[in-house]
């Protein structure tokens, strides 16, 4: 099957809070923007029943409701949505390629907002019971199916305890496996006190999962006591894993710089090691992962992508002069040495009018164009022809040297 090729200014991978915000900024900057999401638009936030710390909603909001508003706003600014998973990416060229199972998207810039996926326990037979076979990651999704049943929750963080409490509204018993000592949990104190007082909740301290067992469907979870190594089987109908997230970065292995955990490394402009590729939200190595911080990331990347694309257009049209001759003076406007040469450049421009177009590039705000020309000393004069740098003058720029430079075109 031949894949259909489509062109965009920006392709955003992932439709959570960070990706949607980046979309809003790109759409509003009139960039042709595509957002690819593999399931439900809204990302991880849609798994949360109640979001109480996102500013602007004093009454709180459901995760799904809040993300719906983000989605609507992105649509309003013309962002296009495609609901499927990304199969491969190629960031090696000037044009960035993102492929899904039926399409090949070519973009000038890509924003990676792929977030995370639930971490597994790594216990025996785990893969045999995932999703519909008894191991679930979404209490909202599967709570009703466990009415009057016994379920197990693995983990003691905020998600584990809050989702566990939600499950007690349906299930008759919720057993929580905690790897810490009696009474020690990773969640906040309020949730902890409520959970310990909940009569339907039972705790298995100092335990981790050793194996999942059953005929076709999950029937038993065997817990191992980390102190005594003792194994205890528990008969349950479902088991919910809430032991954290891993970044969705397999697609970018050996391409984008990551830390040991696989989170993408960026600078404060959300730029990765590849120009034109940005990373935002939970997939990025950062201090706090919240809707509020994802929104900040998205705004920065949307703006940075717009600047990157604009510089690229200036670069090919003006700096490279579509293959014709071009003279570029690169300076820093706050540096007196750079400013002093401006009259000389003007004189040169006047003399070669109609023959060599002259551009002035101020690197004070951004060194993007200088970087593309491999120039890091300012001021510098660069002569370009046939899309290639012919010569660079770095020091002691004077009239005679400029004329020698111009003569190289002849």
């Amino acid at each position: 099957m031949e894949k259909k090729t489509e062109r965009y200014d920006v392709v955003i991978i992932g439709g959570g809070a960070a990706g949607l915000t980046a979309g809003i900024y790109c759409g509003r900057a009139r960039l042709k923007t595509l957002l690819i999401e593999k399931a439900l638009v809204g990302g991880l936030a849609t798994y949360t029943n109640e979001i109480e710390n996102y500013p602007g909603f004093p009454e709180g909001s459901s995760g799904l409701g809040l993300m719906d508003l983000f989605h609507k706003q992105a649509k309003k600014f013309g962002v296009e949505f495609k609901l499927t998973d990304v199969r491969s990416v190629d960031f090696s060229g000037e044009e960035k390629i993102v492929e899904t199972f039926r399409n090949r998207y070519v973009a000038k810039a890509v924003i990676v907002a792929s977030g995370g996926k639930p971490r597994l326990t790594g216990a025996k037979n785990e893969a045999d019971f995932l999703y519909d076979k008894g191991i679930s990651f979404c209490a909202t999704c599967d709570a009703a199916a466990n009415t009057d049943k016994t379920v197990m929750v693995i983990g003691s963080g905020d998600a584990a305890i809050e989702e566990g409490m939600f499950l007690t509204k349906f299930a008759s018993k919720v057993i929580v496996s905690v790897m810490h000592e009696d009474g020690k949990m990773d969640c906040n104190e309020i949730a902890k006190a409520e959970a310990l007082a909940n009569p339907k909740m039972e705790f298995a301290w100092n335990t981790v999962v050793d194996s999942f067992e059953g005929e076709g469907r999950l029937e038993r979870v065997v817990l191992k006591n980390v102190k005594t190594e003792e194994l205890t089987p528990y008969t349950v109908d479902s088991c919910f894993l809430f032991i954290g997230y891993l970044p969705n970065t397999e697609l970018f292995r050996d391409m984008l710089d990551m830390n040991r955990g696989g989170y993408l490394l960026t600078n404060e402009k959300m730029e990765t090691n590849i120009p034109g590729i940005f990373a935002v939200g939970d997939v990025r190595d950062k201090f706090l992962k919240q809707v509020a911080t994802a929104v900040g990331d998205g705004a920065v990347a949307g703006y940075a992508a717009e600047k990157y694309i604009a510089e690229g257009e200036v670069y090919s049209r003006q700096i490279l002069n579509e293959g014709g001759p071009s003279f570029v003076y690169i300076y820093n406007a706050i540096d007196p040495a750079g400013r002093e040469l401006l009259p000389l450049i003007e004189q040169f421009e006047e003399k070669h009018k109609g023959e060599i177009p002259v551009s002035r590039v101020d690197v004070y705000k951004s060194t993007g164009i200088a970087d593309k020309l491999n120039v890091s000393v300012f001021p510098s004069a660069v002569l370009i022809n046939n899309n290639q740098v012919v010569a660079v003058l770095e020091k002691d720029i004077n009239e005679a040297d400029l004329e020698k430079l111009a003569a190289k075109l002849g």
Binding site: T46, T84, L130, T140
Partner: protein
């Protein structure tokens, strides 16, 4: 390469996922199943499940809060 449909409108989790699994067993490799869903939680576990089984998945948003999950059986 036959096409099958499965109507899960108005059905909450985990019913759509269970119905999908049953229906996929009847399909041959290369066949396509179109599942109509209007419950957002099924949008999380149905595509995830299909992908872990190695199938190709694409989703169309038919209307606000209504989706068609397209699953191509690959194995």
């Amino acid at each position: 390469m036959a096409e099958f449909t499965l109507d899960c409108m108005g059905e909450a989790c985990p019913v759509p996922l269970m119905k999908c699994e049953k229906k996929m067993n009847e399909l041959k490799v290369g066949d396509v199943l179109l599942v109509s869903i209007d419950h957002s939680c099924a949008m999380k576990n149905v595509p995830e499940w299909a992908r872990t089984r190695g199938h190709n998945v694409e989703i169309e948003e038919v209307d606000d809060g209504e989706w068609e999950v397209i699953i191509e059986k690959t194995n």
